[in-house]
């Protein structure tokens, strides 16, 4: 019997990687001040907090209804308008259908830079520009949705069958017709599923946008937290948890049917 030759272990390669990872971890642990012992000693403070917040104050529930609705509205506006704006951004950044190299390069970098900023940063910026309130949140989620969807969607467009767009060009179609009838119909199902995914993300983040003054449930959360009304804080967290779980199940079911 001939046993296959055992591959030679690459000690230098794996050693280098391990060293780099350990160094990164040591540097981070020092900066963060990882302190599990201190945490265990401090657990008493945590216990008091949990006891205070334990029976959630369900009497507060009716007052959550309006901000909760506002949160869903912000998420919906952000997903739909951002989803529409993401289409041109994604098309111009997809290599097979992008009109020329320069546009492709600029749009691709625009997309990458936009993706670096988290949702709450956009919310802070828009709250500064248009004032505190739900409009700032809706604008922030619109930009955030463009950032999330355009990247995924342009990757899907890059994977399409390019014969169709070529055929349309060969038959004398212009660029718009090529994109509209050759490229996009192939990726609409993926687009719909990305839209659902973005809506899930947006519901989750619209719950906390209020912490920086951008409307919705987070604003109530912030005011109850600064008054140390922890029974109410825990109720709000419970509501967020249930809402996010429900939306996730719903969108999961819709996405399974789309696929």
């Amino acid at each position: 019997m001939i046993a296959p030759v055992r591959p030679k272990p690459r000690y230098a390669f794996w050693g280098g990687i391990t060293l780099a990872l350990v160094a990164m971890t040591a540097w981070s642990a020092k900066g963060v001040g990882v302190d599990f012992i201190g945490m265990v000693c401090n657990i008493g403070g945590g216990k008091r907090l949990l006891v205070e917040s334990f029976p959630p104050d369900f009497g507060f529930l009716p007052r959550l209804f309006k901000p909760f609705l506002e949160t869903l509205q912000i998420a919906l506006i952000g997903s739909v308008i951002g989803g529409i704006l993401a289409i041109p951004v994604a098309v111009l950044a997809a290599r097979p259908v992008s009109p020329n190299g320069l546009v492709w390069f600029l749009d691709r970098n625009f997309m990458n830079v936009m993706r670096t900023l988290p949702d709450l940063f956009w919310a802070m910026l828009f709250a500064t520009a248009v004032g505190f309130g739900p409009l700032a949140g809706a604008l922030a989620l619109t930009v955030f949705t463009v950032a999330v969807i355009s990247k995924l969607f342009s990757e899907s467009i890059e994977a399409i069958d390019t014969n169709l767009p070529e055929a349309i060009c060969a038959a004398g179609g212009n660029w718009i017709e090529m994109v509209r009838f050759g490229a996009l119909p192939q990726v609409w199902p993926q687009y719909a599923s990305y839209l659902m995914y973005a809506f899930e993300l947006n519901v989750r983040s619209s719950m906390v946008l209020g912490l920086v003054g951008a409307g919705g449930l987070g604003m109530i959360l912030e005011s109850q937290r600064s008054n140390f009304e922890y029974e109410r804080v825990s109720l709000i967290i419970l509501v967020v948890l249930v809402a996010v779980l429900a939306i996730e199940q719903l969108s999961g079911a819709i996405r399974r049917r789309l696929a």
């Binding site: 540097w27 945490m39 509205q73 506006i77 709450l120 779980l245």
Partner: protein, 261 residues
């Protein structure tokens, strides 16, 4: 040949109604958050005016204060990802339908309940427990990552070829040995790529945790904007963008090599 027979255009049906319903809901939402056309038309002008304040950026502040804060955010994200990765691996295995059909539903439900609480709400609770500072942020990110990573990991495990697993069991190996020698070698590259991707996402999450006092760069941006110190805010933003771009590029290069090798 007789007259050309054209195929009939398919009817819209459900899709058309769904689009109309969504459009109606969006208009209603816009109306109720008070986004009137006048207000929306004034937007571009407002944005340009505010952006004008951001230049020139205060680079001195950027170097002495913002850069250390961004580095701290990176450290928080790294520790958080490690905590998440370490705790999620066993949950991912237990949650895989193909390995543990009995308990997989329960494990998956637990992990989706964990991940539906946003990091920043976890941090709200952890800050009083472990004290103001980056460690609270790292724990919050770690807990949230457990939920995310164990779901993705379970999906990877469910997608693998079970032939080798059965072969190890048929040769008399225990279930643990089958997992060690048949499952892990197949899934580790992809799971490690997901850890790296999670690190990229956690970096963005850790950047905002400062808003509730859990370390990192978020609190700095919030104060700068509240006190209208736009030059400082600009420095914070630019340094964050640069740092995240660099890490994204490095991490996606490593991920490509992990998945292809």
């Amino acid at each position: 040949m007789n007259a050309v027979v054209r195929p009939q255009a398919p009817r819209g049906g459900l899709a058309t109604w769904a689009t109309l319903a969504i459009a109606g809901l969006v208009l209603w939402s816009l109306w109720s958050i008070d986004a009137s056309p006048e207000r929306l038309l004034k937007l571009p002008e407002q944005m340009v005016r505010v952006l004008g304040f951001f230049w020139p950026a205060d680079w001195g502040y950027g170097q002495t204060r913002a850069l250390p804060a961004v580095l701290e955010s990176i450290q928080i994200a790294w520790i958080g990802t490690l905590i998440g990765a370490a705790l999620s691996i066993s949950l991912a295995i237990l949650g895989a339908r193909t390995l543990f059909p009995r308990i997989s539903r329960l494990v998956k439900f637990i992990s989706s309940a964990i991940r539906s609480v946003p990091e920043i709400l976890l941090a709200l609770y952890l800050v009083p427990i472990v004290g103001l500072g980056p460690f609270a942020g790292a724990l919050a990110i770690g807990i949230h990552s457990v939920g995310m990573l164990s779901k993705l990991g379970a999906e990877v495990i469910e997608s693998i070829d079970m032939g080798t697993f059965e072969a190890v069991e048929a040769a008399g190996g225990s279930r643990l040995q089958a997992i060690r020698f048949a499952v892990l070698p197949q899934v580790l590259p992809e799971i490690m790529a997901q850890w790296l991707f999670r690190f990229e996402l956690n970096l963005r999450a850790s950047a905002i945790l400062g808003v509730v006092g859990a370390g990192g760069v978020g609190g700095m941006l919030l104060t700068a904007l509240r006190y209208r110190q736009f030059d400082k805010a600009a420095a914070v933003l630019l340094i964050t963008i640069l740092a995240v771009l660099l890490i994204d590029m490095a991490s996606s290069a490593i991920r490509r090599r992990l998945v292809n090798s």
